[in-house]
């Protein structure tokens, strides 16, 4: 039975494949199914862990993204995962970036998909104020996600993704008022937070953002990645706030290359990835190289 008792909640999880661990934390109001295309692809290379964050999908407890790191760390202990590549999508990044900052020895690499949450920067302060203004003005989070290209070109996938997205419909903030209730406190804290110093950040990291993401916009990701030591940034064309599902093929190829480079560098610290790698190519075009 793929349930684990973690911190007074019952957490649903699945593992796929064999190899080094690769852990996926889904985004706001998502479930483990949000990663199905990645689990399908990466199980050929890594031992993948996908799970439902507390209060979502089949996991019990009350939703709490801010404290999500406790559950993932608990799952790592439960499954005796010494260290892993960890990938967070949007709200799931609170979870993974916190673990990478506080327990870097447990993290082989950090992937920040479609948001920079957990890294405090002037860009995040500015963005947080902007979110408060937009939500106050009546914008909805879904309306800002900016996946027009996906919607126009992949109707079948949009349909499926709509079905999966409604697995937590009881919990999803539909209106701007509800979103302010759910996230307003975090936005105010982030707006007022002192910027962190990430010039010694010890974990190899990859930041990925969709070019047309109107929510966690490219300038926010750029303003974060450029302050994190050694971070790579990829801005993916024709993707909104859902790169893993909207541009699956390039997302998977880019991520695989990044992970394999990190693994190679653990074996041989002198290894330098070739300039023709996808990671170096997109990083070169990102404007922070």
């Amino acid at each position: 039975m793929p349930f684990a008792d973690i911190n007074d909640a019952s957490i649903y999880y699945e593992t796929h494949g064999e190899g080094e661990w690769l852990l996926f934390a889904h985004g706001g109001d998502g479930t483990h199914l949000g990663w199905w295309r990645q689990a399908y692809f990466f199980r050929n290379y890594y031992k993948c862990l996908i799970y439902d964050m507390r209060g979502l999908g089949q996991s019990t407890g009350a939703v709490n993204y801010e404290e999500g790191w406790r559950d993932l760390l608990g799952l790592m202990d439960h499954l005796e995962i010494e260290n892993a590549h960890i990938n967070g999508w949007s709200a799931g990044e609170w979870t993974v970036s916190k673990i990478a900052q506080d327990h870097p020895e447990r993290v082989r690499s950090l992937i920040m998909t479609d948001a920079p949450f957990g890294f405090f920067t002037p860009a995040l302060s500015k963005w947080s104020q902007g979110m408060i203004d937009q939500l106050t003005g009546g914008s909805t989070i879904r309306g800002m996600a900016g996946g027009a290209y996906f919607a126009d070109h992949y109707p079948k996938d949009v349909f499926l993704s709509g079905l999966l997205g409604r697995l937590n419909e009881h919990n999803r903030p539909a209106s701007s008022e509800e979103a302010l209730q759910d996230y307003g406190k975090a936005y105010r804290e982030w707006r007022d937070a002192e910027p962190g110093d990430y010039s010694d950040f010890p974990v190899p990291s990859l930041f990925v953002v969709g070019e047309t993401d109107g929510l966690t916009v490219p300038w926010l990701m750029r303003g974060t990645a450029e302050r994190v030591r050694g971070a790579k940034l990829a801005v993916i064309p024709r993707a909104g706030h859902g790169t893993p599902r909207e541009q699956t093929e390039i997302y998977n190829a880019l991520l695989l290359e990044f992970l394999q480079t990190v693994d190679q560098q653990r074996r041989d610290p002198t290894y330098v990835p070739p300039k023709w790698s996808l990671v170096e190519y997109f990083h070169g075009l990102s404007g922070i190289a």
Partner: protein
């Protein structure tokens, strides 16, 4: 009817989308349809032109003595295109690289997809000699350009790509002997022509190579890119000689990033 006479020969072309002009030139054995996934993806921001090269698809003529740059320039003039993005795949690279050298002011940026043709370097000398040696030993090239497991991984796409590949069945060389007979002179010229100095080449260029390409092999593309100042190179993982059809999601993201980066509309 999208047919125009260039130098007295019919050329079939199509135009899709709105934005800056982007012209796609297919490779040997291809047609304008070889680019359908790119046109579908890029027509939201680019005015995409595809055409059947002489001797292919619905165009007239033969491809025995390729002067691809004349077809391309003729079509650009016909459509009143002052400046465009140019993308050539495989043998189509010759047309786009030559136009970029002859009339650089008419090119926003150049994309060489799995090819270096038209850039005469020491690497090309070495590669052409190697290919001639392969032909002399009876090794055909046309069936050795796909990555492992293509068919297994995506049988439907593989099936359809093969169908498109048979659109020129009448003229396509089937074995090493007929291939050598038709292109031997071109390979000998590539082998024997001294390298050209490209230090003055100004067009932003992107070289794309498939990880498993056994035709325009990675070392050839890398060494050519090294000889072209300011060029960028990227390797498409798990792809052979046809990333536009084998890995369209990855390939499209790569070229869209590059084109958007060099799009005059994005310069502020």
């Amino acid at each position: 009817m999208p047919i125009v006479k260039i130098d007295g020969t019919d050329l079939y072309y199509e135009v899709e989308g709105e934005g800056e002009w982007a012209i796609f030139v297919h490779g040997g054995g291809g047609t304008h349809l070889s680019w359908w996934r790119q046109v579908y993806a890029l027509r939201d921001r680019y005015k995409c032109v595809t055409y059947d090269a002489f001797g292919s698809g619905q165009s007239g003529g033969t491809s025995d003595s390729p002067n691809g740059e004349r077809e391309l320039l003729g079509l650009m003039d016909h459509l009143g295109i002052e400046k465009a993005f140019l993308n050539g795949h495989s043998a189509g690279g010759s047309a786009v690289s030559k136009v970029s050298q002859l009339q650089p002011d008419r090119v926003h940026a150049l994309i060489m997809t799995c090819c270096v043709f038209g850039f005469q370097t020491a690497a090309l000398n070495k590669w052409a000699a190697m290919m001639l040696d392969k032909f002399s030993r009876g090794i055909t090239i046309v069936d050795r350009v796909r990555p492992p497991d293509t068919e297994k991984n995506d049988p439907e796409m593989h099936f359809f790509n093969r169908m498109l590949g048979r659109l020129n069945s009448r003229v396509r060389p089937r074995d090493a002997e007929s291939y050598t007979a038709r292109f031997g002179d071109a390979y000998r010229t590539m082998r024997d022509t001294p390298p050209v100095d490209y230090s003055d080449f100004k067009v932003p260029s992107l070289f794309i190579v498939g990880e498993y390409d056994e035709l325009q092999v990675p070392w050839l593309v890398r060494e050519t890119a090294d000889a072209i100042p300011g060029s960028t190179i990227v390797e498409i993982p798990d792809s052979g000689h046809g990333p536009p059809s084998e890995k369209p999601g990855t390939y499209n993201s790569v070229i869209m990033s590059f084109m958007d980066h060099h799009d005059p509309r994005n310069r502020t």
